[in-house]
Every structure is written in C-alpha cells, then in structure tokens.
C-alpha cells in the first residue's frame, strides 16, 4: 500500500498565481505547474535560508519528504528558466495556517486569525474578497 502523502503546512499563500516569460518564443508549451508545497520549500530554503531540518519542521513534514519536494521544485524552476515556460503556482497537498483571503480592490492578502470567516478586507474595507484555496 502506498504511504499517504504528507500534508505540508504553508505559512502565507504565494503572492501571485504564476509567472510569464519576457520576449517572444514560439514554442511555448503547457505551463509548468509548481505545487504550493514546492513553492514553500524554495521560499524557506532558498529565500529564507533555512536548513532542511528547520524547513521540514515549519512545514510539518518529514525531512526526506521535504528533500523530495525541494528536488522536484528545483527541477521545475530550472525547466521554466531554461525552456522559457510559463510557471503556474497552484495545487499540491497543503494546509494554510488559518483561512486566507485576497482583496480584489487593494490586492492585499490577509488571514482570519480566529479561524472564523471574514466578510471584508481589513485594510480597505471592501467586501470584494476571495478565499484562497490551497
């Protein structure tokens, strides 16, 4: 029996849904999909400079699982850079820390601290907000 896939904890959702290459390139194929746990692994290890132990602890997964996620993530980012592909950040097996929303008016991202639902943006007061799915 296959081991159930571990769910990764993600502190804050990614800022954007993806990236588009600059310049004309005729043979762009399907975008590369970077899962949200792969994004988080790159963020914690390469942007924040954490150790693999530290990052695994924060994501609440085992160290070998983190290593596998990180290797997949790097391979995908390398493919995007080398082959000039679009990158989409979505999906995966993640749980955000709390409920997260994006405001369509001021473009801020925010959480509801007490696991409650939020109806308006805490910055601009707009009711035009979207729940962020993991």
């Amino acid at each position: 029996m296959a081991r159930p896939r571990q769910i990764s904890r993600v502190q804050i959702p990614p800022r954007v849904k993806g990236f588009i290459p600059v310049g004309y390139y005729k043979d762009q194929s399907e975008p590369v999909q970077l899962n949200i746990e792969e994004y988080e692994a790159i963020r914690l290890l390469d942007y924040e400079g954490l150790s693999q132990e530290g990052a695994a602890k924060i994501m609440q997964i085992s160290r070998p699982t983190l290593t596998r996620i990180y290797e997949r993530a790097r391979k995908k980012v390398a493919t995007v850079l080398t082959e000039a592909q679009q990158l989409i950040i979505e999906g995966g097996n993640v749980l955000f820390n709390g409920n997260w929303y994006e405001c369509e008016k001021c473009n801020s991202t925010f959480n509801s601290p007490a696991e409650s639902t939020v109806k308006t943006c805490p910055l601009c007061g707009s009711g035009n907000i979207q729940h962020k799915e993991g």
Partner: protein, 109 residues
C-alpha cells in the same frame, strides 16, 4: 483592533519599511478610536531573537493584534500565527504610511 505598520521614519510621509522585525519605527493604528501613534522599535539594532521579542512587546505593551507588511520573515510569521494575530500582506513594495492610512480611512494630521 490595533495594526502595526513598519515604517522608515517618524513621519506620516514615511515609506513602508521592508524589514519588519528590524524596522526603525512602527505606526500603531487603532481602528476603533482612529488614533495613530508612531513609536521607535527598540529591537531594530539587535541581532538575537528580534522577531520574538518584538512581537511580545507589540502584543503586551501596545495591544497590537494585526501586522501589516510587504513581507514577513518566517520567524515573525510563525510567532504571529501562534499568537492568532491577523496578518495583512500588501502587494506594493513602495507604499507610504499616508496611502495606507487613506485605505484605512484614518485622517492623521
């Protein structure tokens, strides 16, 4: 609800600071009373457990329950999540306190 906004200088025209825990100043915005207070960050020059000390100070001494930032370091994110604080992550790096107060509909002289 009191929001802590990291800023570079002691004025309403200050830019948002991009290093939350080591931000030189904070604007504390009390939404109920529409009061704004600018305070110096006593931990901005320190090098050890800055995020942890700063959050404790903001919560216990200043009743802050919301952090607003462009980017929060992972330590601050974790501590804030543990403390069930609200986080507002804005998507503009070059933001001024004045513009943020306009969003919050707070008139600060």
């Amino acid at each position: 609800m009191k929001i802590a906004i990291p800023i570079e200088s002691e004025s309403k025209h200050s830019k948002l600071s991009l290093r939350f825990a080591r931000s030189p100043y904070f604007a504390l915005v009390d939404r109920e009373s529409a009061q704004v207070e600018i305070i110096a960050n006593p931990f901005s020059e320190q090098s050890f457990e800055v995020g942890k000390k700063l959050l404790k100070w903001l919560v216990e001494q200043h009743q802050v329950n919301t952090l607003l930032a462009f980017e929060l370091g992972v330590k601050v994110q974790q501590k804030a999540n543990e403390a069930k604080m609200q986080l507002i992550i804005i998507n503009e790096k070059k933001q001024s306190l004045k513009q943020l107060l306009l969003y919050l509909k707070i008139d600060y002289k």
